[in-house]
């Protein structure tokens, strides 16, 4: 009885102490959204929710890249730039540390290389939106063990660094230059691949092309692996991606450690990810597909075994 009381007392004391500490270092964060569309709004909502859940005393000043805030008197400790446009905007401020999020790695690196404002590496970091190649390949290997030849289409302007491959897998990569040859390339790649992996390339995967690509791949019985839940809903067999909520949680963790240590970690890929599976497509194609949870579990198991 006494022991329980003592523990409760002790924990209240610790909580009080923590709150005081955080209050002492109240952090002013400028959250810059690329625009006001749903993914950024979703991120903002999830971000605020995660802050509240962590009891972090952070003041958030939200703005949009195209409508910057009137610079108030508050001293900004950290800029969270959500998306490429916001990152581009944030780069005009060379003095404040900044964390980019929801941005593909190549976009982040390109923006930084070309930025006129040179800054110390420690003052800028990112949590990318894309999944690391290793994870994508691992995902395909675990989810579709019988599909070992991974086809990829890209337009010449897209810069891709080919991934290292797990044993037993091979890549089949084709460059496409114009719409006319997209379908020729698609026909060829579908004929020689077990699965087609989508990469973020707006010239190939435009909304109208996605329709034809999905129909052709379904007809050829070569499933499509997408990069978002939207792809899964549209007819891709599966996808691995990080949702705004997952990225927001990681940003909040980073902020908390920044508040205590004053340092940003190295740019990194998303820590947590989601898996989407379209079971109807799987069934129709006659592919035995595990549930997202089972796939994740298997991925973790293999990861641990490494």
């Amino acid at each position: 009885m006494f022991r329980q009381f003592a523990i409760r007392l002790l924990s209240s004391a610790v909580a009080l102490l923590l709150t005081t500490l955080v209050q002492a270092g109240t952090l002013n964060v400028s959250l810059v959204l690329s625009d006001n569309t749903p993914p950024y709004r979703q991120f903002s909502a999830a971000f605020n929710k995660a802050l509240a859940a962590n009891n972090a005393d952070v003041t958030v000043i939200e703005s949009q890249a195209d409508a910057p805030p009137t610079s108030g008197s508050t001293k900004i400790d950290l800029i969270i730039a959500v998306g490429a446009k916001a990152t581009e905007f944030a780069l005009t401020d060379s003095s404040t540390p900044q964390l980019s999020v929801m941005i593909p790695r190549t976009a982040y690196e390109t923006l930084h290389e070309t930025s006129s404002a040179k800054r110390s590496a420690k003052a800028a970091s990112a949590i990318y939106l894309d999944q690391p190649w290793d994870r994508q390949m691992h995902f395909i290997q675990v989810a579709l063990p019988k599909h070992s030849i991974v086809g990829m289409l890209y337009s010449p302007d897209t810069h891709i660094v080919l991934p290292r491959l797990p044993r037993g897998m091979s890549l089949n990569v084709k460059s496409v230059s114009a719409t006319e040859s997209l379908f020729a390339a698609l026909e060829n790649i579908l004929a020689s691949s077990d699965v087609l992996l989508v990469i973020p390339d707006s010239e190939i995967y435009s909304s109208s092309n996605v329709r034809n690509i999905l129909l052709a791949s379904y007809r050829q019985k070569v499933p499509l692996v997408g990069i978002s839940q939207a792809y899964v809903n549209a007819g891709a067999l599966c996808a691995i991606f990080s949702a705004p909520e997952q990225l927001a949680a990681q940003v909040v963790e980073t902020i908390i450690s920044f508040a205590s240590g004053g340092k940003l970690p190295e740019p990194q890929y998303p820590a947590s990810f989601s898996i989407g599976v379209n079971q109807q497509v799987a069934r129709s194609l006659g592919i035995e597909m595990a549930s997202p949870d089972a796939i994740r579990e298997r991925m973790n198991k293999v990861e641990m075994g490494r």
């Binding site: 490429a84 810069h159 006319e180 020729a184 060829n188 004929a191 973020p200 707006s202 034809n212």
Partner: protein, 702 residues
């Protein structure tokens, strides 16, 4: 558009040195997160996803484009030899008979045939005219053959099976021309072009095909010619338009103009009993089809479709049914004194209009429903064949099908179609099947289904009657058909159990089933006396109850990369008993004799084998072997002997067709030998010899 913007920006970057003016250069040159948040239309929506074979309510055979190519076939009908239990025979060079469950006569009446959902089973005689179809074999994407009644999914007359031909989507982006030349006057050309665009795609095919047909079997036909040459020209087009991300409008149009030789006798005033004068039949066919698909989310598709098919056939000749001397075809007592040549016409104008609304709905993640309503009108003007100069038949239907996954391992397909048929009779055709996955690779299926075949116009309203010269005061006629009418639909009940197995990871499958089908009130011939006619006219009546039982199996085996083997086998027995007793003893006797002969209408064993192999270097080999046991149609005098048939195809591909790596420009040259084993093949018709036939096809893709 994006490209242009990029180029513009690069230009402006070169001209202006300010970075700010050219923000887009960078924005377009790295992948933006927009690619990840892109909103996409639901493409593979509920109605576009087909059921895997292990989950269909009926046994199903799928023949894809590669298989069609490997057979070397130039007639669509030949492809159906790859369906276990399917009969394919030829009445002559241009009249194939495709029929499931043997043959009772030259028309296959108990099977629905659809092209992209459009019924091409014609209402007048109840047949499909394969030769003049405005469809080129090269435009077929795949053929799904449902073996068993499927009214709940495919509408009325899906009695013994359904052939569903699906044409290529307009995904052509290169022009293709093809020419074929060979023995038996084979001369075909086709050109195919199209384009794939942002909001609309199209494909146009132009083709002409023709040959001089088979050779007469002089042992039987003496020196009569066999006039069975044919030629058809066609245009077939499909346009797919997507006004929004959720709407697709498909327009399909086609037209063909065909001519085919008929008859085997030259009209001559000195010969008597000539019925089949040499002449050409001219047929033009067209179709127009509109389907509008709206995707209301991934789980809800609404489709409205309308089509019209038209067919105008003209077959006129002068015949001398009987002249002055007794002929076997005429009643001996009716030797007509006045010689005469009479115009016999078989002309028909057919218009079919069909409209249907269908909804596919995932009502839960484990339950998909397809339901719809439809109406059809068949308007036929054929005063030479029917009692009335113009006949207009309408039918209405409502259908629903539910695919319910009770547990992950078991699935129930339950459905029914209710129809008010052309004769105003209401019928319900239910179907239920239970598929149980013993493991993800092994499935058992049991199903029971019911379907009805509505009487054809000729059966209900047929009247083929030619007035002849008077003999004395008596007006003689040549009255071939005089339908009494008042028919009811034939009813089929089918029961089956099947096994579907996946044998490996590379797509090998085994599909076996045992079935027992009963068809009641089969409509067959009834002779009605007409004292004025020189022949006894035929009417139609519900005559038999028949049964069919047997085993069928298909093995699709992947031997290696680019090497596939398909083996089909069918074993079937049939029998019938008369369903009525006639007061006329002779009619009863003929009913009994027909019933006894019924068991011969199915081949006891039939099998087919297709091997396709891709050699390195772009060479392809296709071997098709087909076997049909002895079979005899009810109206045939002599049975069709055991038939074996071997087709070979060797092709050499070049350019992009060979390496798959080349950009554009490719093609192939293919040599096909049909009936390689023999120079004297006979099937349905014993008067037409099918000789070995060799032809060469060259295809060039630009």
């Amino acid at each position: 558009m994006l490209k242009a913007k990029k180029l513009l920006c690069r230009l402006c970057a070169a001209v202006s040195s300010t970075v700010m003016a050219c923000v887009n250069v960078w924005a377009a040159d790295y992948p933006s997160e927009q690619d990840y948040f892109q909103e996409l239309p639901v493409v593979l929506s509920a109605s576009r996803l087909s059921q895997p074979i292990s989950e269909t309510p009926n046994a199903m055979t799928v023949i894809d484009r590669d298989m069609i190519t490997a057979t070397g076939a130039r007639n669509i009908a030949d492809v159906f030899k790859l369906v276990p239990g399917m009969y394919v025979g030829y009445e002559n060079g241009h009249s194939p008979i495709v029929s499931y469950r043997g043959i009772t006569d030259g028309y296959a009446r108990r099977m629905q045939v659809l092209v992209d959902g459009r019924s091409i089973y014609l209402p007048l005689y109840g047949q499909v005219d394969w030769t003049e179809l405005p469809l080129d074999i090269g435009d077929i994407e795949r053929i799904e053959v449902v073996r068993g009644p499927s009214a709940a999914s495919h509408g009325s007359n899906s009695v013994q099976g359904v052939i569903n031909i699906l044409t290529r989507r307009p995904d052509i982006f290169r022009t293709q021309v093809s020419a074929r030349l060979g023995e038996a006057g084979v001369a075909d050309v086709s050109a195919r072009l199209g384009s794939v665009g942002e909001n609309w795609d199209y494909r146009v095919t132009l083709a002409s095909r023709g040959d001089t047909g088979f050779d007469p079997n002089v042992a039987i036909t003496a020196n009569l010619p066999l006039n069975d040459n044919s030629r058809a020209q066609l245009i077939n087009t499909q346009i797919s338009y997507r006004p929004t991300g959720t709407d697709t409008l498909d327009v399909r149009l086609g037209y063909s103009n065909a001519s085919r030789g008929l008859g085997d006798q030259f009209p001559s005033p000195s010969t008597s009993g000539i019925f089949a004068t040499l002449r050409d039949q001219k047929v033009s066919s067209d179709f127009e089809q509109l389907s509008w698909l709206r995707t209301l989310g991934g789980d809800n598709d609404l489709q409205l479709s309308y089509y019209h098919i038209g067919r105008n056939s003209k077959d006129e000749r002068y015949s001398m049914p009987c002249v002055s001397i007794v002929h076997a075809s005429c009643s001996a007592a009716l030797t007509l004194a006045a010689p005469g040549s009479y115009l016999v016409a078989d002309n028909a104008v057919i218009h079919r209009h069909d409209v249907e609304l269908q909804q596919t709905l995932n009502i839960a993640h484990d339950n998909r429903v397809v339901w719809g309503i439809g109406a059809r009108q068949d308007a036929v003007d054929s005063p030479n064949n029917l009692r009335y100069p113009s006949v207009n038949w309408r039918e209405y239907r409502v259908f629903a099908h539910d695919e319910w996954r009770i547990t992950p391992a078991s699935l129930v397909n339950i459905g029914a179609m209710g129809e008010k048929n052309v004769l105003g009779q209401a019928r319900v055709s239910p179907r239920i099947s239970y598929n149980y996955h013993l493991s993800p690779r092994n499935t058992l299926r049991a199903s029971v289904s019911v379907a009805y075949r509505n009487p054809e116009m000729i059966e209900e309203l047929g009247n083929i009657n030619t007035l002849l010269n008077n003999v004395g005061a008596k007006q003689y006629t040549w009255h071939k058909i005089s339908a009494a009418g008042g028919l009811s639909p034939e009813k089929a009940i089918s029961r089956e159990i099947g096994y579907i197995g996946r044998l490996d990871d590379v797509g090998s499958t085994l599909d076996v089933r045992a079935f027992h089908d009963q068809i009641s009130d089969i409509i067959w011939l009834d002779l009605v006396p007409d004292p004025n006619s020189i022949v006894t006219p035929q009417s139609f009546k519900s005559d038999f109850n028949a049964f069919y039982s047997g085993l069928e199996g298909t093995l699709n085996y992947t031997l290696g990369a680019g090497s596939k083997l398909t083996v089909n086998y069918g074993h079937q027995v049939a029998g019938a008993v008369p369903s009525r007793v006639s007061p006329v003893a002779s009619i009863n006797a003929s009913l009994l004799s027909y019933a006894r002969k019924y068991s011969q209408t199915v081949p006891l064993n039939s099998a087919s084998l297709l091997l396709s192999h891709d050699f390195s270097g772009g060479m392809q080999l296709g071997v098709g072997f087909y076997h049909t046991d002895k079979v005899k149609a009810l109206d045939a005098g002599t049975p069709q002997p055991l038939a074996r048939y071997l087709d070979l195809r060797i092709a050499q591909r070049f350019g992009s067709w060979q390496s798959k790596k080349g950009k554009t420009g490719g093609g192939e040259v293919a040599l096909v030998v049909q009936n390689a084993l023999s120079d004297h093949h006979l099937d349905y018709s014993i008067t037409a010899i099918q000789k070995r036939r060799t032809y060469l096809t060259a295809t060039l893709e630009l």
